[in-house]
Symmetry: C2
């Protein structure tokens, strides 16, 4: 990026946001302190979330109610000085809108009433009408943007086509993905057909989120890491690359940064960085120094504290933050985050320690002489 363009982005972002550190870091631009947010920051570890969730009834009723989705999105941002909000929703809204009948059974996670079992099931799949079926999501986005009042940017998101396909074919969560991989190895054509429809759906879905007001995007590829290197490229990264190419990357003169996160994808960072994304999410099994030296010249890096560190005492949390910041070093383009979602059993005092430590301990790395 030329210096002029960089200045242009800097100024145009600053016009409407009080804190644009997240967007700047995602575009590898200078910041005064490392921005931080937490995957699943709107969640069960917060008593105020549990209260709203109880009000809503079940999890999908919470997702489908824009006022309540807005409320739980804002809760962590009110409680902690986080540098970004992320839309509260579920990754499985698209298959639900395709008619698969998403529901949540207690203790067992997401389930589909009508999973994909045959090539004939795939033939029936169609790109959902986003305006008709998923307006609860875009309505929530507009409402959140309005209520955020320009404090911090709002991140929109989607699951990756491969990750969505695993839930659709298994009918829910899985340990071994035997039905989806069974399809991959016995009938790859049908799987490709499903992934293609999903990629087209995700493009429309994310562009609708941009139209409604999200200022950045993230694609969660929770299960890409269970594939072989070549199958990952063919069945997961390939479709995420298509999605990135299909997104509106500019809105009102601002660039919309896209972060791509493949859990357990540490071995494939170079390929991921070539997808056209602006930032790559990294889990804690990869050293950030290593990630930085491999792909830091191309993309920003998001990560990567083990969420279990939040079970430790404040001193230990601070130590771990210091270690991660040091491993990234005095480079631009780091968004601090956990390497996976925050756990429900974490005490709400702990994220405060984390966020404070990231801001305070990162300042020296950003001081330019």
């Amino acid at each position: 990026m030329s210096e002029n363009l960089s200045v242009h982005y800097r100024e145009s972002i600053l016009v409407e946001l009080k804190n644009d550190n997240y967007l700047r870091a995602a575009l590898s631009q200078p910041v005064d302190e490392t921005p931080v947010w937490m995957m699943r920051q709107a969640g069960r570890y917060l008593p105020e979330y549990r209260e709203v969730r109880a009000q809503a009834g079940d999890f999908m009723q919470l997702c489908k109610n824009p006022e309540l989705a807005c409320e739980v999105t804002l809760q962590p941002v009110r409680r902690y000085p986080l540098d970004a909000a992320i839309l509260f929703s579920d990754i499985l809204t698209i298959p639900d809108a395709m008619g698969l009948g998403l529901y949540f059974s207690t203790g067992e996670g997401p389930k589909f009433k009508h999973p994909i079992k045959t090539a004939a099931d795939v033939d029936k799949l169609m790109v959902p009408d986003i305006a008709a079926e998923l307006s609860y999501v875009t309505d929530a986005v507009s409402l959140i943007r309005k209520n955020l009042k320009g404090e911090v940017p709002l991140i929109g998101f989607s699951g990756s086509p491969w990750t969505l396909a695993t839930y659709m074919v298994e009918g829910g969560s899985s340990k071994d993905f035997r039905h989806t991989k069974g399809m991959l190895f016995t009938d790859p054509k049908t799987l490709h057909k499903m992934l293609d429809i999903l990629a087209k759906s995700v493009i429309e879905y994310l562009n609708a989120q941009i139209d409604a007001g999200v200022q950045a995007l993230m694609i969660f590829d929770t299960w890409g890491g269970v594939l072989t290197p070549s199958d990952y490229l063919e069945f997961s990264l390939n479709y995420m690359t298509q999605i990135i190419a299909g997104l509106k990357r500019e809105k009102d003169g601002h660039r919309i940064p896209v972060t791509l996160f493949t859990k357990n994808g540490g071995q494939w960072l170079e390929s991921i960085a070539d997808s056209g994304c602006d930032a790559v999410g990294v889990d804690w099994t990869t050293d950030l120094k290593d990630a930085q030296s491999r792909v830091g010249h191309k993309v920003a890096i998001q990560g990567n504290m083990d969420p279990c560190v939040l079970y430790a005492d404040p001193q230990r949390i601070e130590q771990e933050v210091a270690k991660i910041l040091a491993s990234f070093g005095a480079n631009e383009g780091h968004i601090f985050n956990l390497g996976h979602g925050i756990h429900q059993y974490v005490s709400p005092d702990k994220p405060a320690v984390l966020v404070d430590a990231v801001h305070r301990l990162s300042r020296p790395y950003h001081q330019k002489s």
Copy 2:
């Protein structure tokens, strides 16, 4: 290894084994075809196994009965021309012998009646008396060796200290390992104390297996891959390295090859190869060509077909075998295996296709001009 020493090993192995390809490959010595075995090859996908298991009652009664353990160990070797047998047992026999009360509840996997919850619980742990508590394992080893009649070598095994510790602290299987990692981050001294006792126990246990007749060893670090790179070195690899140093590596003039397998450890192969092991197990998320070029000069490599390929048709299985063999290339030191245990839903016809394909398609790679 000098050429003379290599010849010595070759001859002394051949004296007692009709097929020593597995041992030779594990020591990176020449073979005429790539040896193959399957993790969990004695298991529920075999109707003859399910019959014996039903006879035995529950899973631990099967493990604790040397005659039945011998029978199920031999079943896959009778059915397929595999190049090694592996002792049928459970990785949690050591914590059971320590008094934690292992049991299996249907559909939920292994559980402990008395999990480790506090530092005081760790203080009470002692290295078990192998001869008194685990003679059912060594008796099974002797019986299997006798019944194998020198056809193929017998592999003994243990879980890694870190992997055993996760089950002991969580009280069973886990998705997030929050209790064990909680201990790691809040009270690492206590965790180290437990890991030290486990490492000492594993050394005695594996040496007893060697005395009883196993001809090779494997250490399963099923959960090392959930750690950060530095925690992996400190809390998992460190103890496996101690174990390898404490093993009898020679028996009757033969070297006992040791394979170390950390699931999802592909990013750390160089460190694993420095542990003193002879072979490194690799799962399917790492390309064998990559593994070969990184550590193939130091150790043999075991792996790495995705077990889900066994859901495909014979032609597709053969294709995948060909691809894996080609990625390893014309080098010595490859033991073909799955990247994780064979699934219970695989048809017993499929391993026959796999084993045949490995033997047949690998011969050209081993022909020396």
